[in-house]
C-alpha cells in the first residue's frame, strides 16, 4: 500500500460496511430474519463469507455475523503525520469491503435488484438465472449476468486447469473510449483470458461501452458482465473463492489456504479503468488478499514491492503515456503489462488470420443476421477429415482451395465444404487420427467471427459479415489448422497439408472416403476394450487445481471431465512424455466384474498419498473412483428405487436425491471415495463397462433430460445392447419427477427393470 491508497481504501471500507449494515437492518425489518437469501445455482452459499468465515448464509438473519466480522476488520484511516503502519489494516479493510459488498448484493437479490436489470440487454449463451418475470424460465434478456453459477464454474474448470483459459481479468470502471474498451476486451479474448466486467466512472460502465459497440457479452464469449456498479465485482472474488473450494478440495473457513490457492494457482488480476474512487480502492485491497494485483489506466500510487501478490501489487499505466498510435495499440500494451504483472503463463500460437484469434472466441455465436456464408446446417453439408500419410506424401504448409470461394455467394448464402487435413510425423499413429480431427472444432472456432459446431460429416460452419469484411477467406481455415497443429501437436505432427474443397465432384469423392474412414474408426474404437490393452492412463491434469485427485482412464472409461478419453491420453503421452498422462500398467485383473487391477490399485495408493488403496473401475457401490470438481455428471444411489440417478452439469433442477447438481458436487468431489456417489463423464454411460458390477445401464432410473436428448441415438443403441430397447423411455427425468415418491411411481408405471434386480443395499 501507500498512505494515499490506505487512506482511500480504509475510508471506502468504513463507508460500505456502514451502508451494508443500514441495508441489512432495513431488510431485516421489512422481510424478517428468516427471509431466504441466496445467489442462484450455487452450493456455496455466499462464497466469500463461506470461504473466509466458514459461515453458511441462507437467511437474512445469518448475514448479521457477516457484518459483525466485517466491522471487526475495520480500522481508522492513517494520520497525516506520524502514522502507524497501514498495510495489514488496509488488507483487513479490503476483506471487510468484500463481505459488505457480498451482503449488499445478497440483499439486492431478495429485493429482485440482482442481476442488475438492463433493458434491451441480451446475454450470449446460457445463464441459469431464472427470471420471475419469465414464468420461471431462464431468461437471457433484459439483465446483466450477476454471479457465475456453479455449472459454468465447473464447465470452465477443465479449461482453467489445462491452461486453455489462463486466468481471469476483473475489469472495473469504463475505458478511455469505446474503441479502447473494445480493444482491451479483444486483447484479453485473444489470450483466452476470462473477462469479468463491473463498475462505472461517473455512471458510465465498460458494459455500456461494449454494448454500444455491439460486442457480445455472456458465458459464450468469455466476457461476463456482472453489473454496472463496483459492488458487483464481488462476484469475481466469489468465483475465485469457489475455484478453491471446487477444485482445490478446500473447505469453507480455510481462509488462508483459499487465499493462497488463488495466489498460487488462479491467474487473475484487476484492471481499474478510469478514475479510482474510495470504494474501488477498498475492493482492490480485498483483491490483493487473494494475490490478485491491480493495474490502472490512470495515475494512482504504484505499489511495487512484492509479497502479498507474486509480483507488483499496484501498477499505474496512465493511458496517455502508453506508447502506441492507436487505441488498439495502447490496449495491447496495457494487457501485456497486466499479464506480466500477474505472471500469467500464456502459450500463444501465432495464427496468421485477419481476425482476432484465441480460445475466448470459441463460444462465439454467429447469428443468421450477421452471417456472410454458411457451410453445413440446413441447406448444405460440411465435413472434415484428417488422415495420416507417409512423410514424402505430405507437403508441409501447402494449402489449397479447390473450387469457388464464398464471395461468389449471396449474402447469407450457403455451400458445401470439405476440409481435408493430411498429416505426417514420425510419432504419428493412425489411432491419433480421430484425436487430432476433433481438434479442428476448437481450432476453427478460435477465430473471431467464425462459428463451428459438430464434427465429421455433420460439421456446421458460419462466417460472419465482420470476418468477411476483414478479409477472411476459406484459405484461412488452412492457415489456422496448419499453425495450430504445429503449435499444439508439434511433437507428433511434423507436416500438415490442407485442402479446402468446394468443387462438387471432388467434394463428393472425398466425402465417400471420409465416411469409409469414419466407419472404420467406429469399429476400431468399438473393438477397443479394457481387455485389449496393456496400459491404462493416469490423468493428473487437474492436479495443479485439485492436488489429491487422480483420474484413471481406460478404453472403456473416459475421464470424468469428458474431455479426455484413452486415445487422447495416449496421444498426450506421446506429445509430452513427462506430462499429466502417464501409462499405468494394468497388471493382473483381480476381479473382472468390479474391475480391480493390481496396477491400478498400486497407482492409486501412490497418487493419493495412501488415502485410497483400492479402486473398482466398474462399480459405484464399492471403492468408486475419486473425483476432482470438473465432472460432467454425478450419479448417486437412490435406495428406494433400487437404482441410480444421473444428473448432468447443465441440469439445474432438483433431483430425487434431494439435492441439485451443485450441492451433490460437494459430496462427490474432493478426492474422497464415497460409495454410492460418483462423478463421471457423460459418455461413460454408454460403455459396456458402465457400473457393470452394479447392474449397468439397467440400474439407471433417472437421467437429466439434456443427456437423453444429446445422446439419444447412442443411448438407444446401448439399450438394445443391454437387451431392453425401450429402456431409455422407462428412465425418468426432471420433467417426470424430482422426488423419490414420484420416481418410484414412475418406475412402477413404466415397469423399469431396476425394480426387479437384486437389492442394491
Amino acid at each position: 500500500m501507500s498512505r494515499y491508497v490506505a487512506t482511500r481504501a480504509i475510508r471506502g471500507a468504513n463507508a460500505i460496511v456502514a451502508e451494508a449494515d443500514v441495508l441489512l437492518q432495513k431488510a431485516l425489518k421489512e422481510k424478517g430474519a428468516d427471509q431466504a437469501v441466496a445467489f442462484p445455482n450455487t452450493a456455496y452459499f455466499l462464497p466469500v463469507a463461506l470461504g473466509m468465515m466458514g459461515h453458511e448464509v441462507s437467511t437474512l438473519g445469518e448475514l448479521e455475523p457477516v457484518m459483525t466480522y466485517a466491522k471487526s476488520m475495520l480500522h481508522p484511516i492513517p494520520d497525516s503525520k506520524v502514522w502507524t503502519p497501514y498495510l495489514g489494516e488496509t488488507l483487513d479493510s479490503g476483506m471487510a469491503t468484500l463481505l459488505a459488498a457480498e451482503t449488499i448484493e445478497a440483499i439486492r437479490f431478495v429485493y429482485g435488484e440482482q442481476p442488475e436489470p438492463y433493458p434491451g440487454f441480451q446475454l450470449a449463451g446460457g445463464t441459469s438465472f431464472t427470471s420471475p418475470d419469465n414464468g420461471g424460465e431462464p431468461s437471457l434478456d433484459g439483465h446483466l449476468n450477476g454471479p457465475i453459477d456453479d455449472i459454468q464454474l465447473r464447465s470452465w474448470g477443465i479449461q482453467l486447469v489445462d491452461g486453455r483459459m489462463p486466468g481471469f481479468a476483473a475489469i472495473i470502471g469504463a475505458a478511455r473510449s469505446n474503441e479502447a474498451a473494445v480493444s482491451i476486451v479483444r486483447e484479453l479474448q485473444q489470450r483466452s483470458i476470462l473477462t469479468f466486467l463491473s463498475g462505472n466512472v461517473n455512471g458510465r460502465s465498460i458494459i455500456d461501452q461494449l454494448q454500444e459497440e455491439g460486442v457480445e457479452m455472456g458465458y459464450d464469449t468469455y466476457i461476463v458482465p456482472f453489473g454496472r456498479d463496483t459492488l458487483s465485482a464481488i462476484y469475481a472474488l466469489g468465483f475465485a473463492t469457489r475455484s478453491a473450494l471446487t477444485f482445490g478440495g478446500l473447505k469453507g473457513g480455510q481462509w488462508r489456504d483459499i487465499l493462497l490457492y488463488n495466489k498460487n494457482r488462479v491467474f487473475a488480476f484487476a484492471l481499474a479503468l478510469g478514475e479510482v474512487d474510495d470504494l474501488k480502492y477498498a475492493a482492490a485491497a480485498g483483491a490483493i488478499s487473494y494475490g490478485f494485483p491491480v493495474i490502472a489506466d490512470t495515475i494512482i500510487p504504484e505499489i511495487l514491492p512484492t509479497g502479498v501478490t507474486r509480483y507488483e501489487h499496484v501498477i499505474s499505466m496512465p493511458w496517455n503515456e502508453i506508447e502506441g498510435e492507436t487505441e488498439s495499440e495502447k490496449a495491447k500494451q496495457l494487457v501485456q503489462k497486466c499479464i506480466e504483472v500477474r505472471g500469467v503463463k500464456i502459450q500463444i500460437t501465432e495464427v496468421p488470420v485477419p481476425v482476432p484469434y484465441g480460445s475466448a472466441f470459441e463460444g462465439e455465436v454467429v447469428r443468421r443476421a450477421d452471417m456472410r456464408a454458411e457451410f453445413g446446417g440446413k441447406g448444405s453439408r460440411a465435413y472434415e477429415y484428417l488422415f495420416m500419410a507417409d512423410m514424402d506424401d505430405v507437403e508441409d504448409g501447402k494449402i489449397e482451395v479447390i473450387g469457388p470461394e464464398f464471395d461468389t455467394l449471396d449474402e447469407g448464402g450457403f455451400m458445401d465444404l470439405g476440409i481435408l487435413v493430411k498429416v505426417a510425423g514420425r510419432k504419428m499413429e493412425s489411432d491419433f487420427e480421430p484425436v487430432l480431427e476433433r481438434q479442428i472444432h476448437y481450432f476453427v472456432n478460435g477465430a473471431s467471427g467464425i462459428q463451428h459446431i459438430g464434427q465429421r460429416d455433420i460439421a456446421w460452419i458460419r462466417i460472419s459479415k465482420a470476418a468477411a469484411e476483414k478479409g477472411f477467406t476459406l484459405k484461412h481455415f488452412g492457415d489456422i489448422l496448419h499453425a495450430r497443429f504445429h503449435g499444439d501437436f508439434g511433437t507428433i505432427v511434423d507436416k500438415v497439408e490442407v485442402k479446402i474443397i468446394t468443387e462438387p465432384k471432388l467434394y463428393a469423392e472425398w466425402l465417400e472416403k471420409a465416411r469409409e474412414a469414419y466407419n472404420e474408426r467406429n469399429e476400431r474404437m468399438g473393438a477397443m476394450t479394457d481387455e485389449s490393452v496393456e496400459d491404462f492412463y493416469s490423468c493428473t491434469l487437474c492436479q495443479s487445481f485439485a492436488p489429491d485427485h487422480v483420474c484413471i482412464v481406460s478404453p472403456e472409461r473416459l475421464g470424468l471431465c469428458g474431455a479426455y478419453n484413452w486415445l487422447d491420453c495416449k496421444a498426450s503421452f506421446q506429445i509430452n512424455p513427462t506430462g499429466p498422462n502417464q501409462p499405468i500398467k494394468k497388471g493382473e485383473c483381480l476381479d473382472d466384474d468390479k474391475g480391480y487391477f493390481t496396477g491400478v490399485n498400486e497407482y492409486a495408493v501412490q497418487a493419493s498419498h495412501g488415502s485410497v488403496s483400492d479402486v473398482a473401475m466398474y462399480s459405484v457401490m464399492e471403492n468408486p473412483m475419486t473425483a476432482c470438481g470438473c465432472f460432467e455428471c454425478i450419479m448417486m444411489v437412490i435406495p428406494e428405487a433400487n437404482g441410480f440417478m444421473i444428473v448432468s452439469r447443465e441440469d439445474t433442477s432438483m433431483t430425487p436425491a434431494g439435492m441439485t447438481f451443485s450441492t451433490l458436487a460437494g459430496v462427490a468431489g474432493g478426492g474422497l471415495q464415497t460409495p454410492g456417489v460418483m462423478g463421471h463423464g457423460k459418455f461413460f454411460v454408454l460403455s459396456k463397462k458402465f457400473i457393470r458390477a452394479d447392474g449397468g445401464l439397467k440400474r439407471v432410473v433417472w437421467l437429466s433430460s439434456i443427456m437423453k436428448e444429446q445422446m439419444a441415438e447412442q443411448l438407444k443403441e446401448a439399450a438394445i445392447r443391454e437387451g431392453d430397447p425401450d429402456l431409455i423411455d422407462k428412465i425418468a427425468d426432471e420433467r417426470d419427477c424430482t422426488d423419490v415418491e414420484g420416481l418410484v411411481k414412475h418406475l412402477q408405471e413404466k415397469n423399469h427393470p431396476a425394480l426387479s434386480l437384486p437389492p442394491l443395499m
Partner: protein
C-alpha cells in the same frame, strides 16, 4: 591518573544529554560520564588477564605465557571470565522470566487480582509450544498449567528446553550434533559456575562451548518465555504513538520515572497514574496531572504496550534527576546505577526501590508484592505526588522526538499481510529482490566509556542509507527513537530507495522498535520465520543479517551476543572485547564458533569498520544465496509522490490529467 575530561559534546551525541551535562559540569555535579573520565578501566581485567575465582589470587597474568598460581593459562582465565559473564547475563534475563511465570500463576489462581490474561490467543500458542493440552480448559486453568509448565522449563529433570523446537530444523540439528542443546534454563547457568570454579573445566574451547549452551537457554528459554509471558499478561504489542527523550517530562505535572526491566509493577503504576483519584490527588498538590516516563527496558516494556514515553536510555538515568523535575524514580531490577541515590539527595526526587532482589542503600524501599499490586502502585504514586510541592527550579530540555514503537513479531507478520495473509513473505521478497539489502539488529546498552549514542546513531544512519532494515531493542532502540528514526516519515528522509519503497508500502518506520532486551527473543523468532518462509536458505545463518551491540556494557549483552552467535548470527560488539588480550580465545569466539555454529562474535570499536564489515557480510550472504547484487538504482519508483502532485491540481484539470501526459 585522571584522564582528560571530555566536553559534553564529546561525551554524548544526544542534545538533551549535552545540555544537562553542560550544566552538571558547571555545577560540579558528578555523573557516570565524569566518573568514566576520572577513572580508567582496570587494564588487567579489561584484557581478560585477571583471575579471582579462588583465594590464592587474584592472579594477574600480565605477561605472555604467565599462569595463575594453580597453573591456569590466560586462555583458561579469559574463557572462564567470559563464561561467567554469560552466566550472569543469562541468569538476569531468565530470572526475570521466572518471576513473570510466578505472576501468571498467581493471576491464574486468583491470588493476584490486579492481573488478568490480556492475550488468551498467545496463551494458547504458548501452551502449544510447551505441550500443555488446551481442550476444555478455562483461560485461568490453562494459564495455571502454562505457568507451571514454564516454571518447569527452568529446572526440569530430563530432556531439553521445549522452545528450542521453535528454531529452524537445520539449526536444531546443529545444536544436537554439537551437544549444546540446553537441558533446562537454570542447570546450564549453574554448570558454568561449577565449571569455572577453581580446578575444574580448564579447556578454553570446552568452557566456551558450554557458554553457548547456557546462552541458548537464555535466548530460546528464559528470555523467550519472559517475552511470551509478558505478552500473555499485558498484551502483545502493536504500534502506538509516543515520544522519546527528556523533553517528555512536564513542568507542571508530577513526573514519575520508571526504570529497570520488568513490566509487572510498572504496568500497575501506569494504570494507577491514570486513576482519577490519583490525578485528583496530584491536582490537590498543585500539579496539572501525572506524567509517566521510562528509562531502560521498563521504559521499553511500557512503551511497547501502553505508549508510555521514553525519558531516555541507560546513560540518561542520572540526567533525568538533574532536570529537577522528577518527583520519583521507581526502579525494579538491572542496570540501575547506585549513583542515582546520591544524586537524588541533591533534589526533591524520591528514589524508590521495589524488587525483593534489588535494594539500594539510601533509597526508599517499597517492596512490590503482586498479590496487592495496585495498592502498592497507588502508594508509590501518592508518594511521588507528595514530593511535588517540594520541587524547585527545573531544567527540562526541550528535546524530544515522536516514534511509532510496538513491533512484536506477531504485529510484523500482520503488518505484512493483514489478518488473512500475514506472513514474512513480503520481507523475504524484499530481501530477495534487493530492495532491502539485509537486516541489522542493533541492540544493547550505552557505555560511559564511549560517546553516548554515537555508535548507535552512526551505524544506523549508514545502514538506512544502504537500504538495510534495522530492528532494535533495549537502549539501542531508545537511541534511534531519540534520533527520529522510528517514525514512518524517517523512511523518506533517511532510507535508501529500496527500503523507502518497502517502508512506504507497509507504512512502517525504517527502524523497528521490537521491545526490551529480553525481547531479543522476538528477533530470534523473526529470523526463524524468515528462514522457514523459503527463499533465504533454511537456517538463520543463511540470512543476510547482522546483530550488533555497539555500545554494550552489561553481562546480559554478552549473553545475548552469545546466543545470537549460537543461533547462527554474525554479531559485532562495539567498544572492547573482554578477552582482547588473549588472541587464542578471541579467535575461538570468532573463527572457532563460526566453524561450529555458523555465527561469529567480533569486537570492533570503529563505527566505519562496523558498517563496512556488516555490509560485506550481508553481501557475502546474498551472494551465497544466489541473490542479485545490491543495486539501489533499480528502486524508488513506487509510492505516493506522483499522486500527490496530481491531487494538487484543480478538480476539472485533475480528471483529464489522471490519464497522464500526452506524448509530445
Amino acid at each position: 591518573m585522571a584522564k582528560k575530561e571530555r566536553t559534553p559534546e564529546e561525551a554524548s551525541r544526544d542534545q538533551a544529554t549535552i545540555t544537562l551535562l553542560t550544566q552538571a559540569t558547571e555545577e560540579g555535579i558528578e555523573t557516570s560520564f565524569s566518573r568514566a573520565d576520572s577513572m580508567a578501566a582496570c587494564p588487567i581485567g579489561s584484557d581478560g588477564y585477571c583471575c579471582k575465582v579462588c583465594g590464592m589470587g587474584p592472579c594477574r597474568l600480565v605477561k605472555e605465557g604467565q599462569t595463575g598460581i594453580c597453573g591456569a593459562t590466560r586462555e583458561t582465565v579469559a574463557a572462564r571470565n567470559f563464561a561467567r559473564m554469560v552466566a550472569a547475563g543469562a541468569a538476569a534475563h531468565s530470572d526475570h522470566g521466572r518471576d513473570l511465570a510466578y505472576t501468571l500463576l498467581a493471576a491464574a489462581e486468583g491470588h493476584a487480582p490486579d492481573y488478568s490474561i490480556k492475550d488468551p490467543a498467545k496463551l494458547r500458542e504458548m501452551a502449544g509450544y510447551l505441550d500443555v493440552a488446551v481442550d476444555g480448559k478455562t483461560t485461568e486453568e490453562l494459564a495455571k498449567d502454562v505457568a507451571l509448565a514454564a516454571l518447569g522449563e527452568f529446572g526440569k529433570v530430563e530432556g531439553k528446553i521445549k522452545y528450542l523446537d521453535r528454531a529452524p530444523p537445520k539449526r536444531q540439528e546443529i545444536w544436537k550434533k554439537l551437544g549444546i542443546e540446553p537441558r533446562n534454563v537454570d542447570r546450564e547457568i549453574v554448570e558454568i559456575m561449577h565449571r569455572t570454579h577453581i580446578g575444574n573445566d580448564q579447556d578454553a574451547e570446552h568452557i566456551l562451548d558450554h557458554a553457548m549452551r547456557a546462552a541458548l537457554g537464555d535466548g530460546w528459554g528464559g528470555s523467550m518465555m519472559a517475552t511470551d509471558l509478558s505478552d500473555v499478561l499485558f498484551g502483545t504489542p502493536a504500534p502506538v504513538i509516543s515520544e522519546a527523550n527528556l523533553g517528555v517530562l512536564k513542568d507542571d505535572e508530577v513526573n514519575i520515572i520508571i526504570h529497570g526491566h520488568e513490566p509487572t509493577l510498572s504496568e500497575m503504576i501506569v494504570a494507577a497514574a491514570q486513576d482519577p483519584e490519583m490525578i485528583k490527588y496530584a491536582k490537590s498538590k498543585g500539579a496539572e496531572g501525572i506524567t509517566m516516563a521510562g528509562i531502560c527496558c521498563t521504559a521499553n516494556e511500557t512503551l511497547m504496550r501502553q505508549g508510555v514515553p521514553l525519558a531516555g536510555n541507560f546513560l540518561q538515568q542520572e540526567l533525568a534527576i538533574l532536570t529537577g523535575a522528577v518527583e520519583a524514580m521507581v526502579v525494579d531490577i538491572q542496570c540501575i546505577m547506585q549513583g542515582v541515590v546520591k544524586l537524588a539527595e541533591n533534589y526533591h526526587t524520591e528514589l524508590i526501590t521495589t524488587s525483593p532482589k534489588a535494594k539500594i542503600t539510601g533509597a526508599t524501599h517499597m517492596e512490590f508484592d503482586e498479590h496487592r499490586a495496585m495498592e502498592i502502585a497507588k502508594e508509590i504514586v501518592r508518594k511521588a505526588v507528595d514530593r511535588y510541592p517540594e520541587r524547585k527550579k527545573t531544567r527540562i530540555p526541550e528535546d524530544k522526538a515522536e516514534l511509532i514503537p510496538g513491533f512484536s513479531h506477531e504485529y510484523i507478520r500482520y503488518a505484512l499481510g493483514g489478518t488473512h495473509r500475514g506472513s514474512f513473505r513480503p520481507l523475504n521478497d524484499a530481501i530477495i529482490s534487493g530492495r532491502i539489502r539485509g537486516v541489522v539488529a542493533n541492540i544493547g546498552c550505552n557505555n560511559a566509556r564511549v560517546c553516548h549514542d554515537h555508535l548507535h546513531q552512526h551505524v544506523v544512519t549508514e545502514f538506512l542509507k544502504n537500504d538495510v532494515l534495522v530492528v532494535e531493542t533495549g537502549c539501542g532502540a531508545i537511541a534511534s527513537a531519540k534520533q527520529g528514526y522510528m517514525t514512518p516519515e524517517a523512511a523518506f528522509e533517511a532510507a535508501g530507495p529500496g527500503l523507502r519503497e518497502v517502508c512506504e508500502a507497509v507504512g512502517m518506520p525504517p527502524v523497528l522498535h521490537m521491545g526490551s532486551c529480553v525481547d531479543n527473543s522476538r528477533i530470534l523468532t523473526v529470523l526463524a520465520e524468515m528462514a522457514t518462509e523459503t527463499g533465504l536458505g533454511e537456517d538463520i545463518s543463511d540470512i543476510p543479517a547482522v546483530g550488533m551491540a555497539p555500545e554494550w556494557m552489561s553481562e546480559k549483552a554478552i549473553s545475548i551476543g552469545t546466543y545470537c552467535v549460537a543461533s547462527g548470527a554474525y554479531v559485532i560488539m562495539g567498544h572492547k572485547s573482554p578477552v582482547s588480550g588473549v588472541e587464542v580465545v578471541d579467535r575461538m569466539i570468532s573463527d572457532g564458533w563460526e566453524s561450529k555454529v555458523g555465527g561469529r562474535m567480533e569486537f570492533i570499536n570503529d563505527p566505519e569498520e562496523i558498517v563496512r564489515r556488516s555490509l560485506a557480510h550481508i553481501d557475502k550472504k546474498r551472494a551465497a544465496l544466489g541473490l542479485p547484487e545490491y543495486d539501489p538504482t533499480k528502486w524508488g519508483q513506487s509510492g505516493d509522490a506522483r499522486m500527490e502532485q496530481l491531487i494538487e491540481l484543480p478538480l476539472e484539470e485533475r480528471i483529464e490529467a489522471a490519464y497522464g501526459n500526452k506524448a509530445e
